[in-house]
């Protein structure tokens, strides 16, 4: 693979948002070795930042013109903002190479694709569920639902918990980023994905202030008013909600699968299970699962693209991905065929099986939308939760911001 004379030594920088996560850190240590073995002239320098610091650091580095060669991509509006500024490398050709065609499903690429071009190699599949602590169900004498359920049944369960002095849900009151998952589901359950996309892309006759969206926020407000949420959860930041569910402060948490392995590690006695988000009777959307893929993107300003692409090829190897799944407990988005039994814990495995059986997914909206609209979305959901804004005001604010972005040409996406 190497041509003579031997290539000069190259250092590639890879940035992730997994600081403090031992499994991920260990994985990348091993991956670095793998890369050096395959390409002795390449030394991979991996820097991990915390989730909150990752985007600011990336932004600052790009703004100054010296970004890392490779970085983790969350897709959607966040990635698109970087694409629009010409900071991300177009990987469409790379991802159509022989090895990639069968390996990478189209659906996995979708959140990293804009106007027909893909800008990241998708690898991790994250699905959103009502993660349940079965111990709490048992303690309250409530049966764990085994099939899809609708909103009325869901509210019924909420009341059942209340009557036993327990709480149905916990949430991150001080981290709006993770509160919006409820609305991600509710908006599509009631208005349908088609309508959401049309409204987002400012098609005529569509507004966020339309009744279906107001209804979505209303349902959320109803949930709050019904006392479904653990009171202490109002103060919780991201790290606290896992502790909250693990400790059994509430029965369920609406969250993505990346929390499963950490909770299992710190709360070995908690029996976890995933429950689908309820459907809404009369709504335009079906019982789809919310999902998004995490990808690896490349900076356009990278000076070592050839080597970076080689690293990505190794990253997508079956062995590498299996190792990743085993270490982190997170499902992989690529078509790896059957994984050896026990690679993933039972809950993550169940999530992956259910995801593979689906073809249509609900969007993770805060990252799908342009950053400014995503921020507004988080803001209004948070305010509805704390009762400082009505559902009508919330949707009106969202619509106003969307119109503003339309005038600036940021929408349609």
């Amino acid at each position: 693979m190497e041509t003579t004379p031997p290539p000069s030594p190259v250092t590639l920088e890879l940035w992730t948002s997994f600081a403090g996560e031992k499994p991920q850190e260990e994985f990348f240590d091993v991956f670095r070795e793998t890369v050096s073995k395959q390409y002795p002239h390449v030394s991979l320098k991996v820097t991990h930042y915390t989730g909150t610091d990752f985007l600011p650091k990336l932004t600052a580095a790009m703004g100054a013109g010296s970004p890392p060669d490779l970085f983790v991509s969350y897709g959607g509006g966040q990635l698109k903002a970087l694409v629009d500024e010409g900071q991300t490398e177009d990987m469409t050709a790379f991802l159509s190479e022989g090895w990639a065609a069968a390996l990478i499903p189209e659906s996995a690429k979708s959140s990293h694709t804009f106007r027909g071009k893909t800008y990241a190699l998708p690898y991790e599949l994250n699905t959103c569920w009502l993660l349940a602590n079965k111990n709490v169900f048992k303690a309250a004498g409530v049966e764990v639902p085994t099939k899809t359920w609708n909103w009325d049944e869901f509210m019924g369960v909420t009341q059942a918990f209340k009557s036993k002095g327990k709480y149905a849900l916990t949430i991150s009151g001080n981290a709006p980023r993770h509160m919006v998952y409820h609305l991600d589901y509710l908006m599509e359950r009631i208005a349908g994905q088609d309508r959401f996309l049309k409204t987002l892309n400012r098609e005529a006759g569509h507004s966020f202030a339309d009744q279906p969206f107001v209804d979505a926020f209303k349902k959320f407000a109803e949930l709050v008013a019904a006392g479904a949420f653990f009171p202490g959860a109002s103060a919780y930041k991201y790290g606290d909600i896992m502790k909250s569910l693990g400790m059994g402060e509430a029965a369920m948490l609406c969250i993505y699968t990346w929390v499963v392995a950490p909770i299992m590690k710190d709360f070995p006695d908690a029996e976890l299970d995933i429950l689908p988000y309820p459907t809404v009777p009369g709504g335009a959307g079906g019982p789809d699962i919310a999902a998004y893929t995490l990808g690896m993107a490349m900076a356009k300003a990278s000076k070592n693209k050839g080597d970076a692409y080689n690293v990505l090829r190794i990253f997508a190897w079956r062995e590498t991905m299996l190792e990743y799944a085993k270490k982190t407990g997170n499902p992989i988005a690529l078509n790896l065929g059957a994984m050896p039994a026990g690679t993933l814990n039972p809950v993550s495995q169940k999530a992956e099986d259910l995801a593979r059986a689906s073809t249509k997914f609900v969007y993770r909206k805060a990252t799908l939308m342009p950053p400014e609209l995503g921020s507004k979305y988080e803001e209004v959901v948070s305010k509805v939760f704390f009762n400082t804004m009505t559902p009508e005001e919330a949707t009106a604010a969202l619509e106003a911001k969307a119109e503003e972005l339309k005038d600036l040409g940021i929408l349609p996406m």
């Binding site: 403090g20 915390t50 909150t52 600052a60 502790k243 590690k265 710190d266």
Partner: protein, 285 residues
């Protein structure tokens, strides 16, 4: 009658004083005590029983904090950056303060510029600063951070030291002038030694601040090898689940140098504050 009343009043007021001080001490000390206890427990242990004492002290947390947080390197970085900044500040700020205490051209403007710079939160100019440092190739370097800190701490040091200079009698300078000393010699041999306590105060306060600062290193470093101590321990609260054990251990590790220095230099600090702040008292005439 009044004597007894006064006696009761005195002893009850003594009691109240004592009580208040005791409560205050507890309030000040307790959070650290609790953090120390937390540092010897594991996450599952803490969640199962938030209030218990460490059942089986997990001293490994300290090792984990040190290794996973790369605290050895972080401490060295913090030390180099703090000492470097203080050395430059010690060299530069007294003379700037002295110059600004004399009626010179542009003094008012410069003083305002210094004050305004002091009030600015780093978030305000961090992006232009990043771009600038990047152009100079100073991102992810010790020197880059040192220069940023010197520029940031200069105003405060100048203000404190200048106040000290202003408190010194004009007579000293006049007699120095009569003796034929140049301005610089006057400064070095007579004025500066008298204002030294204020220099200590300023340097100590700014030194503490630089050691504990989080935001500048957060944005202006790129690699783990360059992280300072606050960044090093921050990774334990950044992941999916807060690792209370190593985080508490890391907290203690990062506080040890500062507390040690404080204990060693407590007297110096007090003298510095005496000279730098209560200037009026020290030049009783």
């Amino acid at each position: 009658m009044t004597a007894v009343y006064k006696g009761i009043k005195r002893s009850s007021s003594k009691f109240i004083t004592y009580a208040i001080l005791l409560v205050a001490t507890v309030i000040v000390v307790y959070p650290f005590l609790w953090t120390f206890l937390m540092s010897l427990r594991t996450n599952p242990e803490i969640f199962a029983n938030p209030w218990g004492l460490p059942t089986d002290p997990v001293w490994e947390n300290y090792v984990v904090a040190w290794t996973q947080g790369n605290l050895g390197v972080a401490t060295v970085n913090s030390a180099i950056i703090t000492m470097g900044s203080l050395v430059i500040l010690a060299a530069v700020s007294p003379i700037t303060a002295y110059a600004l205490s004399k009626p010179i051209f542009g003094r008012r403007l410069l003083f305002y510029a210094l004050l305004a710079g002091m009030f600015m939160a780093p978030q305000v100019f961090i992006i232009p600063l990043y771009v600038l440092l990047n152009q100079l190739g100073l991102i992810d370097t010790h020197l880059g951070l040192v220069l940023v800190y010197v520029a940031g701490c200069l105003p405060y040091c100048v203000i404190i030291i200048r106040a000290a200079f202003l408190g010194l009698p004009q007579a000293l300078e006049d007699s120095a002038r009569v003796d034929g000393l140049s301005t610089f010699q006057t400064f070095r041999r007579i004025m500066l030694p008298l204002a030294m306590p204020s220099v200590y105060t300023a340097l100590i306060i700014e030194g503490i601040w630089i050691w504990n600062d989080f935001f500048y290193p957060l944005i202006l470093t790129r690699s783990r090898e360059m992280f300072t101590l606050p960044l090093g321990i921050a990774i334990f609260r950044g992941g999916y689940m807060i690792q209370y054990g190593p985080l508490s251990a890391g907290t203690f590790i990062s506080m040890i140098p500062v507390v040690l220095l404080y204990l060693v230099f407590a007297d110096l600090i007090r003298r510095g504050v005496a000279g730098g702040v209560a200037v009026k008292g020290s030049t009783r005439s």
